[in-house]
Amino acid sequence: MRMWVYVVRRVALLAPVVIGVMTITFLLVTALGPVQQLESAFGPPPIHGTIHSYNPTIPCSEITPGANGTCANPLWNELAPKLGLNQPVFVQWGFYIYRSFTFQWGTVSNYSETQTPLSAYIHGQPVSTVLAQLLPYTLELAIFSLIIILAVAVPLGNLSAVYRNRPVDQASRVMSFSGFALPAFLLATFLVLAVVLVLGTSTLVHTPWCPGGETSYSEITGSWPTPLGCGAPGGGGPISNFYYPAWLTFGVVSHPTGFPTVDAMIHGNWWLAFDTILRMVLPAIVIAFGSIAILLRFVRNSMLEVMNLDFVRTARAKGVPESTVVKRHAGRNSLNVTITVLGLTFAFFIGGFPIIEDVFQLNGVGYILALSVLPGQEDFALIFGSTLLFTFLVVAANIIVDVLYAYLDPRVRLG
């Protein structure tokens, strides 16, 4: 089978999965009821007196004085057909699938009473626009942590297979078990606490915009330096002389690419680029820790299996140096497992982002999700939008993994 045929087939096979996920979210949206659906799609309804007028059961006379008695709720009449809400359920389902595929994911409501720069920026915008603007940050963090995962798990897994039951192996086993057992939010908090205790209120970096130095707490949380004052949070420090540059809207979305580090470099703001990367180190370590635990075990086991195969013995018998055997013969063949496991655990990996971005207050998709589930301030359009987005990411990752796997192991696409 040609490579592109294989790719097309994989993508076609995943379409039912995506539609299935949308069906599940559709069922949940339907459970919310029509009024909530309208609110999610079109934002908060205009208020007439004290009445929110999406509700079809409120008589027209109460909403617009002087309307004739036969009229139903005007907003309902106008907007419900757009979502197919006056149609049978399966037609609504069709509308929902269509809107999901075309990124019509609704509008961000005025959900947040906690005023973060993020909530001020996104209020009233289409969900897909907001997510598209925040996604680059999450992707950058994901790539950064993937690099850490691969850089640690693969060499360590190989080492612990080669030096099996020796100190290296035992240490990597302990690390892997701790990765399974430590919840991310605890690890993150301990790391922040440790950094704060070690550095105190001295500066981590002498940030040029804050000569007196920020607290180390505000230097390791948030995507960007806080403009509130060098001492924030707590506000004890001197007033900041730092203002966001014009290419950084509200301190949330950077232009033109949206990838913060890249943008800072494009604009030649090297300090800010360095600062941005520095702020990603701790979150990336926390995210990587859990995934390293899984990957490490699989790499080790697959290395152990490969090391006993005939071709490795042949290579040794030929007199190939041991390091070359490990690197070129065995290591290359255990790469398949690495990629498969990464694909299988991607859902787990991406599911950790809301928590990490919430701990470190990073302006990514996960943070906005964490903000939108707060009790009394739920924003269902955002919750469902980010669920769809994360599912798309998982499916995309699966396709990439399948293609990579087929590329690395020709038996998959030829057999």
Binding site: T25, P183, L186, G236, G352, V373
Partner: protein, 371 residues
């Protein structure tokens, strides 16, 4: 354990039935794995703690709380009257910080007013509502174990049945069920639980309190997203088992499909499920903690209440870290390490002991991994 050649796994003499022999073999290999034994020991200890906590005089969904006299929202009334100060209740000075550091030396002995063996859990540095950490983590053993076991056992049962059906019947049934599994596997677990709980939390199941219906909802949401893992494992196993000679023999002797699945296929493909179950029991409390940490109303409690469950307790104490640090930079530097450490430590102990045990179990059950 590297000593004289190991004795035979199956004792000589009267031979036990094959399945008993299998259990004995498993225990034999498990016994030689120190880490697994340590894990099992900690696990048994935690279960004992959970059982002990059931005998405490505090209601099982509450912690020993310390409340100021005139406080709204303080849900726990002290078991003994505020005066004179007793072991369970103290009059609280309004200006006294609620961060009570642990008094480990006094554990078990008599405590003077304001001393707690493991310190207090409180929402803000000067909150009037604070909880006894020790009673919290004792109570937490109940809830964490109940939640974890109910989710994992039900998920495994459903997954076992679905996987066995898919693997044994094959064809269109297999295709349909496995596509369903794929669908659930591509939604991140945490996200699925978040959307389910936030959608359905507006409804209360008639006849149940808001708290019970939320709890039921959380467990159901986890089960719905948890069984596919097991279904996939079991199906893979069943595909191997159904080609075995004894299944063929059963079919030849005229057994019905249902009987073959129940008596031959499932018992022989259940071991990987045990391994995965023992791993997952440790994972669930971590996920519940993560959900509680995100701050949405998981259990229908008021903002000053916290469910005594290890994950929720550590999330509760971690969540006020910002406030703590804010206070710290102003000058009153109280970092309440104990209220983050102790519940987190219980969570960590539970998860890591379960992982040690599961790893030993895998080594014992899977001959290829045995060293």
């Amino acid at each position: 354990m590297a000593s004289a050649p190991p004795p035979s796994p199956v004792p000589s003499g009267r031979r036990p039935s094959p399945r008993i022999a299998q259990y004995k073999r498993t225990w034999f290999f498990l016994r030689r794995n120190t880490l697994a034994l340590v894990g099992l020991g900690i696990l048994i200890f935690l279960i004992a703690v959970a059982l002990y906590a059931l005998t405490l005089p505090i209601p099982w969904n509450q912690m020993d709380g310390y409340c100021g006299v005139h406080l709204p929202g303080c849900t726990y009334v002290c078991t003994t009257p505020p005066s004179p100060p007793g072991p369970n209740c103290y009059a609280v000075n309004q200006n006294f910080p609620a961060f009570i550091p642990p008094t480990l030396s006094a554990a078990g002995g008599t405590l003077t007013a304001g001393q707690l063996p493991l310190g207090s859990l409180s929402q803000t540095p000067y909150s009037q509502i604070y909880y006894n950490t020790l009673s919290g983590i004792l109570r937490g053993a109940d809830w964490s174990l109940v939640i974890a076991f109910s989710i994992v056992v039900s998920g495994a049962l459903i997954g076992l049945m679905v996987g066995a059906i898919a693997g044994f019947w094959g064809g269109a049934v297999d295709e349909a069920l496995m596509r369903l599994v794929d669908i659930f596997l591509s939604i991140p677990v945490i996200l699925f639980v978040i959307i389910t709980v936030s959608v359905f939390s507006q409804f209360t199941i008639p006849g149940l309190s808001p708290f019970s219906s939320r709890m039921l909802l959380l467990i159901l949401a986890f089960i719905v997203v948890w069984w596919p893992f097991y279904a996939r494992i079991v199906r893979g196993q069943v595909l191997v088992v159904r080609e075995q000679k004894y299944v063929e023999a059963a079919r030849a002797s005229g057994a019905r499909k249902g009987r073959i699945v129940a008596r031959h296929v499932i018992p022989n493909s259940v071991y990987p499920v045990f391994i995965q179950m023992s791993l997952d029991v440790g994972t669930v409390p971590l996920l519940v903690g993560a959900l509680a940490f995100l701050g949405f109303n998981l259990f229908g409690l008021s903002s000053s209440e916290v469910l005594p469950e290890w994950g929720s307790l550590s999330a509760f104490s971690v969540n006020q870290f910002d406030a703590v640090f804010g206070a710290c930079s102003v000058g009153v530097c109280v970092i309440p390490w104990w209220q983050i450490l102790f519940p987190g430590l219980m969570l960590f102990l539970f998860a890591i002991s379960v992982n040690f045990f599961a790893d030993g179990l895998r080594d014992a059950l899977d001959p290829r991994l045995r060293r």
